[in-house]
Each structure stands twice: as structure tokens, then as C-alpha cells.
């Protein structure tokens, strides 16, 4: 066997990712301390208010991640940018985790607050559920057989279809529910305690740093996989030509 055409690193870490990783760890520990011990109970929501430390940041990152996927999808179709294609794929994988977290924390929070795990009248949760199914569909398309660029093209079209349809899905759910149970105002109406607000914003920052950290690693893995394959392609062409030389003597 020939050697791999490039030197593959043993891991995908670097000084920056280690720094980001440490920041995430410190952030999570701080979040736990602040969330459970410093931030007070809410007058109305009692202990369940603590769910927003995970819920709100996850929800924000879900939509950030999926926006990145949508942008990446456009860039693949427009510029054939492999870089953006990998970004789109990686972001969808991480986004689906955030999306799942949003749904789980949302429904756990809903149990004591609305007295039900799932409230169909809640526009944002229902929209997010549909987005979740679409993201799972996107990843299903990603895992389909076929050649690499065909899969990328199919997935990009799914990403764009989802991105274009999400606003109209949201609008339809909103009209359908006629109202929303969602806590829209509690963040801005000053009802939340200072420490609660601070912890939540810290949660957003920590989630953002985690997203960046995970994206970097996921991207590098996918990039290296592709490097390996491109190396294979060069070899494959050589092997294919050798095949020609071998049979050239026969005919």
C-alpha cells in the first residue's frame, strides 16, 4: 500500500479549540453554580424558571445553526464551495442537538407551567418541532447513497426549501393558534431577577462558544475525510490508467 498523500494530523484540536473548550467547561460550571444557587426562584414560575437557562440559549442557537446551514446551502449551489458545503452539514448536525434540547426543555417546562407536556397552542414550540423534523430530513438526505456532489446538491435544496418555508410555517401556526402561550415578555418586561437574566445571557454566550468549538472540530473532521478522498482520487486515476496500460498489450 502507498502512504496517504498528505500528513494527517492525529487529532483536530489546536490552541484555539483547546481555549474554546476550556471556556465552555468553565462556562458550564459557572452556569450550574449561578443557575442552581445564585439565581432566585421566580415569583410565578418557581424553580422551573431555571429551565430557561438551557431553553432560551438552545432555541437561539437552533436558529443560528439552521441559518448557517441555509447560507451554506446557497453557497454550495451558487459557488460550488466545498467549504460552505461542509459548514452547512456540520451546522445542521449541531443544530439538531440544540433543537432537540429546545424541545425537551420546552416541554418539561410546560408541564408545571401549562400543566401539559405539549401545548399545540404554542407557536414557537410547534414551529420548532416542524423545524426539527425538517432537520432530521436534511440529515437523512445527507446520509443517502450516491456521489458526493449529488448528495450535497440534494441536501442544499432541502436546506433552502426548509429555510424558505419556515417563516410561512410559523405564520400558519400563529394564525391557527390564534394566540400564543409562549413567554414572550418575561425577558424584556423586567419581571425576571437580575441574576436570572445574567445567567440566561451567560447561557447564550456559553452555547455560542460551544457551537463554535463543535463546529471547528466537526468541520476539520469532515475536511480531513475529504482530503483523504481527494488523495484517493489522484491515486484512483493513476490506478485506472495503469489498468489501461495492462490491457493495452492484450488487444
Amino acid at each position: 500500500m502507498t502512504n496517504p498523500p498528505i500528513d494527517l494530523p492525529a487529532h483536530t484540536g489546536s490552541r484555539t479549540t483547546r481555549l474554546l473548550g476550556v471556556a465552555v467547561l468553565v462556562g458550564v460550571v459557572t452556569m450550574i453554580l449561578l443557575g442552581f444557587f445564585v439565581a432566585p426562584e421566580d415569583d410565578l414560575m418557581a424553580d422551573s424558571v431555571r429551565m430557561i437557562f438551557v431553553h432560551v440559549p438552545s432555541a437561539i442557537l437552533t436558529y443560528v445553526a439552521f441559518s448557517v446551514t441555509a447560507i451554506g446551502s446557497v453557497m454550495w449551489l451558487w459557488k460550488r464551495s466545498v467549504w460552505w458545503d461542509i459548514v452547512a452539514h456540520s451546522s445542521a448536525e449541531i443544530g439538531v442537538i440544540f433543537c432537540g434540547l429546545t424541545l425537551i426543555t420546552g416541554s418539561i417546562w410546560g408541564r408545571p407551567t401549562w400543566n401539559t407536556y405539549w401545548e399545540w397552542g404554542d407557536v414557537r414550540l410547534v414551529t420548532t418541532l416542524i423545524l426539527f423534523v425538517l432537520m432530521v430530513g436534511y440529515l437523512a438526505v445527507r446520509s443517502m447513497d450516491g456521489d458526493e456532489s449529488a448528495v450535497a446538491t440534494r441536501a442544499s435544496v432541502v436546506g433552502i426549501i426548509a429555510a424558505v418555508n419556515i417563516p410561512i410555517i410559523n405564520r400558519s401556526v400563529e394564525w391557527w393558534a390564534d394566540r400564543t402561550l409562549h413567554q414572550q415578555s418575561s425577558i424584556t418586561d423586567g419581571k425576571l431577577e437580575d441574576w436570572t437574566l445574567f445567567t440566561m445571557f451567560l447561557g447564550i454566550v456559553v452555547s455560542g462558544v460551544f457551537y463554535t468549538w463543535a463546529m471547528t472540530h466537526r468541520f476539520r473532521i469532515a475536511w480531513l475525510e475529504r482530503e483523504l478522498r481527494d488523495g484517493d482520487l489522484g491515486e484512483a486515476i493513476a490506478a485506472r490508467r495503469a489498468e489501461a496500460a495492462a490491457s493495452g498489450g492484450v488487444s
Binding site: D147, E148, R229, I237, R240, R241, A244, S247, S251
Partner: protein
């Protein structure tokens, strides 16, 4: 010599597999080019590249004056490809299929009866559903759909397969007529005993490249060589 097909170092991928790995070829007007080679050598891929259906990964290609690297869609209207699939709709009759493909290719409808006649699928087969045709009749219908388009470049992938003796003779005649009328024909085939006499050139494809290129027993234009 007017260059009809011109390939230089063409690499084309099927998935990640380099089906063509640096093919060079020049084909001129009215030539009948036999493409031979073992299974998986890249014959079909070569024809599909010439039809503007496959992206060219590396190299340079021009067919009928269209640059395939920058705009491979432009050449499609002027080529006729008979592949392994016959591209016929099972639930339509022979004539309906032909009329559909004629209209889709912007050819006059009155070319249809002539093409049906030419391939011997007129009379009693005309109104039969393609689903009920034999493999050979299906093949003839598919070739009729190529004939009706009057392409400048004919790309035939194993045109003789599944046909009886009279069908094979008919195909040979159709090919000769096309070349005599100024079209260029490239056919991939294993049936060397028939096609060697038919062709003006014999190419051997192996390992995704053209490994030999010999003059055939016929001259371009349809006259037998001395």
C-alpha cells in the same frame, strides 16, 4: 477535416470513480467510430461525456463546436444517444412515445411516421403499448426516437444487443445512411464481427483512456477502402 468531437485529457467521475481517466480523441465529420474494449473500460462514459451529460472533472472537450467544460447543455439538442435505457414510457404506445420525443426535441410531427417505418415498428406495432413490446422491438422503437431527431452526432451504446438478424442488418443500414447524410456515429459494441466492417475507425478503450486508434476498412463517406 471538421472536428466533431475533440477531447483532451478528459477525466470524468462516476461518484468518486474515474470512469474516464485522461481520454484524448479527435473525430471528424461522417466518421463511423467503433468503440471497443472490455466491460467497465469506460465506453459508455465516453459516449455520455460526448452527449454533454457528464461533468468534466479535468481536461478539455469540444463537441460540435460546443465547449463542454463551460456549457455542456448546449450540445444536447444536436446529439442522439441510445443508451442501455430505452427512455420510453411503458404506458404509452410506440407512436405516442415517438410523437412525445419528437415534440420535446422540437422536430416536426411528420418525421414520426417515416421513422416508425424505417425501424419496422409501424403497422401493427404502432398502437401497442411499449410495455407489451419484446426487448428487440423496444430497442427498435428507442432507435426510431433517435432517428426522428436527425442528430448530427449519433452515440449508440450496444445498439445490436437484443436484436434478431434482420434487426441487426437494419441498424447497420441506419448507421450507414446517417453517415452518408453527413452525421457522425460513435458506437460502443462487443459485436466485433459485424461492426468491424461497418466502422471507419476502431478505438480501443481500456482503463478510462483510449489505448489504440486504427483506421477501419471503410473510408469516411461510405466507400469501401481498396
Amino acid at each position: 477535416m471538421v472536428s466533431i468531437v475533440s477531447l483532451q485529457g478528459v477525466v470524468a467521475l462516476l461518484g468518486r470513480f474515474p470512469a474516464l481517466a485522461g481520454a484524448d480523441l479527435e473525430v471528424g465529420e461522417s466518421e463511423i467510430v467503433l468503440v471497443q474494449g472490455p466491460n467497465g473500460a469506460g465506453k459508455s462514459t465516453l459516449l455520455r461525456v460526448c452527449a454533454g451529460l457528464l461533468r468534466i472533472e479535468a481536461g478539455w472537450a469540444e463537441v460540435l463546436g460546443h465547449d463542454l467544460v463551460t456549457d455542456r447543455a448546449a450540445v444536447r439538442r444536436s446529439v442522439g444517444l441510445l443508451g442501455h435505457d430505452t427512455a420510453l414510457y411503458d404506458d404509452l404506445t410506440v407512436e405516442e412515445n415517438l410523437r412525445f420525443w419528437a415534440r420535446a426535441s422540437r422536430v416536426e410531427d411528420d418525421a414520426v411516421p417515416a421513422a416508425l417505418d424505417r425501424l419496422g415498428v409501424a403497422e401493427r406495432l404502432r398502437d401497442v403499448s411499449v410495455r407489451n413490446l419484446s426487448a428487440g422491438q423496444r430497442r427498435r422503437t428507442a432507435l426510431a426516437a433517435v432517428v426522428v431527431r436527425r442528430p448530427h452526432l449519433w452515440l449508440l451504446d450496444e445498439p445490436h444487443s437484443g436484436l434478431d438478424q434482420s434487426g441487426r442488418d437494419l441498424i447497420d443500414q441506419v448507421i450507414l445512411d446517417a453517415a452518408a447524410a453527413g452525421a457522425t456515429v460513435m458506437l460502443a459494441s462487443h459485436e466485433l464481427d459485424r461492426t468491424l466492417d461497418l466502422a471507419t475507425r476502431h478505438l480501443t478503450v481500456a482503463g478510462g483512456a483510449i489505448t489504440s486508434d486504427e483506421r477501419g476498412s471503410r473510408n469516411p463517406g461510405g466507400h469501401d477502402a481498396a
